[in-house]
């Protein structure tokens, strides 16, 4: 939309609701009798000020396009160009801008103005769409007046089975304020259909998921981490196993956006945790074309495929963070994606020494997917604070904890071969004489999270690991 041209002379923008605007009416009347023509735009009451024939800036286009943030604003226009401006009432400034003197002799020298309607938080999103949204390129879809907009989202196949927020242009524009990146920037190529996704499409799906703009960089980083051959979201989606992208968030930004790392960390109730993970899964569906029953062939799936995203409790942790253990600075924000099933609980309420507690972890981890399965799957141990305290008091650091668990999971081949223990599942007979580790080196990830009460931890089991399946990927979150 072309910038509306202002008439030469003095242009004054006011609103009746503003006390300063009402106070300066006599000053404007003074100016109106001066040598420069005076044009008054009023934002709210078309009749204000009664004495001065104002023009109603009904759609706020004058105010929007001329960046009016405060009323009153006085502009001096020469040859169609703004050459001077002042806001509020500062007598000396009004003298300078209007080239007149002795204005408002009965008034005090200074009174601040009020906020312009064009920057009113209740209006600004709509104005941004009205005057500035021509850059968005997504197809516009009309919802009929008689159509329920939430039902319309279901009818078009755009949801994960829960209602979504309709992605109106103003909501998407607001979402885009959460990133410095351009709407046209390509973020990733999304499987299974291998479609390039732009920031704009990320924002649309983030709106639908219920994200706030400040979550958007986390969604973008999560997508970058998931959509590559290393993490292999294609396989994570397509597998018959019950896994989805588990997103572990690190860094000071987790606290700034209010993520939960404590009580009920995997559960309901935290908007950031639930909507960041949900946005990524909606994108796999809507952009990648990955839908259950189609490329998604999961036998059971798990509820975390709606969203499984949480923050590490770094403040209360005795250890370095997960992201730091994966090579990033603890001062940066980061996401780690892991192909995970639902969490299971590890209960040990009696161990007060690290050896005993580690024996419990090893025994529980041994059963992952099958007690006779080795090397094929990774896992995340999510250590609850009360368990972590046992290790902290004994002086075990992150590496020591993991080493001790690994040491207890070196399993004789005789227990693992097919048929051993009356269980057909197992490794080939030729491995009988060997000792095999339950987890490959680096196959256990350790995260500190959970509520302060409860001698519990959690295990999140993984999926086919390594180059044949999926590797965890850590990415920095950038603004």
């Amino acid at each position: 939309m072309a910038l509306p041209v202002l008439p030469n002379g003095l242009v004054i923008i006011v609103k009746r609701e503003c006390e300063t605007c009402r106070m300066v009416v006599p000053v404007i009347e003074q100016l109106n009798n001066g040598s420069l023509p005076v044009t008054i735009y009023v934002q709210d009451d078309p009749a204000f000020p009664e004495s001065l024939a104002p023009i109603h800036d009904a759609d706020l286009s004058i105010s929007w396009h001329h960046d009016i943030e405060t009323v009153p604003t006085v502009l001096r226009i020469e040859n169609g160009v703004e050459v001077a401006r002042t806001v509020g009432w500062v007598r000396d400034e009004w003298h300078r801008v209007t080239k007149q003197s002795s204005l408002g002799p009965d008034l005090s020298a200074f009174r601040p103005g009020c906020g312009s309607l064009s920057v009113d938080p209740d209006l600004v999103d709509e104005l941004r769409v009205r005057f500035g949204a021509t850059t968005l390129s997504a197809r516009r879809v009309d919802i009929a007046e008689a159509e329920d907009e939430f039902e319309a989202m279901f009818d078009r196949g755009w949801t994960d089975g829960l209602p979504v927020i309709p992605p109106t242009e103003q909501r998407v524009m607001r979402m885009l304020t959460g990133t410095t990146r351009q709407p046209t920037d390509v973020v990733a190529i999304v499987p299974p259909d291998l479609v390039e996704i732009t920031i704009e499409k990320v924002a649309i799906n983030a709106v639908m998921a219920g994200c706030k703009p400040e979550y958007l960089p986390w969604v973008i980083a999560g997508l970058e981490a998931a959509c590559n051959d290393t993490f292999n979201i294609h396989g994570v989606l397509a597998t018959t196993m019950p896994v989805g992208p588990v997103i572990v968030c690190n860094g000071p930004g987790t606290r700034a956006i209010g993520m939960n790392s404590g009580m009920n960390v995997f559960g309901q109730g935290n908007r950031a945790n639930l909507t960041i993970g949900r946005a990524i899964q909606l994108i796999i569906r809507n952009i990648g074309g990955g839908r259950p029953g189609e490329v998604d062939r999961a036998t059971h799936g798990n509820p975390g495929k709606l969203s499984f995203c949480f923050a590490e409790d770094e403040i209360g942790s005795p250890w370095t963070t997960l992201a730091e253990s994966r090579g990033l600075s603890p001062t940066v924000d980061a996401v780690t994606v892991f192909p995970g099933e639902g969490p299971r609980c590890v209960v040990d309420q009696l161990a007060r020494d690290p050896e005993s507690l580690t024996n419990t972890f090893a025994a529980c981890l041994r059963t992952l997917h099958n007690p006779k399965s080795v090397l094929a799957f990774d896992a995340i141990v999510v250590m609850g604070p009360e368990h972590a305290r046992v290790y902290a008091e004994a002086g075990w650091d992150r590496d020591r904890v993991l080493e001790e668990i690994h040491a207890r999971l070196q399993i004789p081949g005789s227990e693992l071969i097919r048929g051993a223990g009356g269980i057909a599942e197992g490794v080939p007979e030729r491995l009988n004489g060997l000792t095999l580790p339950k987890f490959r080196p680096g196959g256990l990830l350790l995260v500190h999270a959970g509520g302060g009460a409860g001698l519990f931890s959690a295990i999140i089991g993984g999926w086919a690991n390594g180059d044949v399946g999926s590797q965890p990927v850590t990415k920095e979150v950038l603004p």
Binding site: E149, W158, P167, T168, E169, I204, D229, N286, V468
Partner: protein, 96 residues
């Protein structure tokens, strides 16, 4: 002026229109045709494919074997191309 745009939403999908590719006609006989057998690298898929190779060879087909590096990822584009130029028929073994 609160809701003029609320009845218009932005399309969250990839906005791609599926292209339809015509299938090759079903052959009346496999005799003399080259049949590709694609092993997706799942456990025991080779058992099934070995048996298919025997049966197809008996029927007079020229059998070529192919294998994906891993069942968890799509077949590499070069492999797909190789099969498409060398074979008239392809059978993919999917199950464990």
């Amino acid at each position: 002026m609160t809701s003029f745009a609320n009845r218009v939403v932005l399309d969250p999908t990839n906005e791609r229109h599926a292209t339809t590719v015509e299938r090759v006609g079903r052959p009346t006989s496999l005799k003399g045709l080259t049949v590709g057998l694609l092993d997706i690298s799942k456990a025991r898929g080779d058992v099934f494919i070995d048996r298919l190779e025997e049966r197809l060879s008996e029927m007079g087909a020229d059998v070529k074997r192919y294998k994906k590096p891993t069942f968890t990822k799509p077949a590499p584009v070069d492999l797909r191309h190789e099969i498409s130029v060398n074979c008239q028929v392809v059978i993919e073994a999917l199950a464990d």
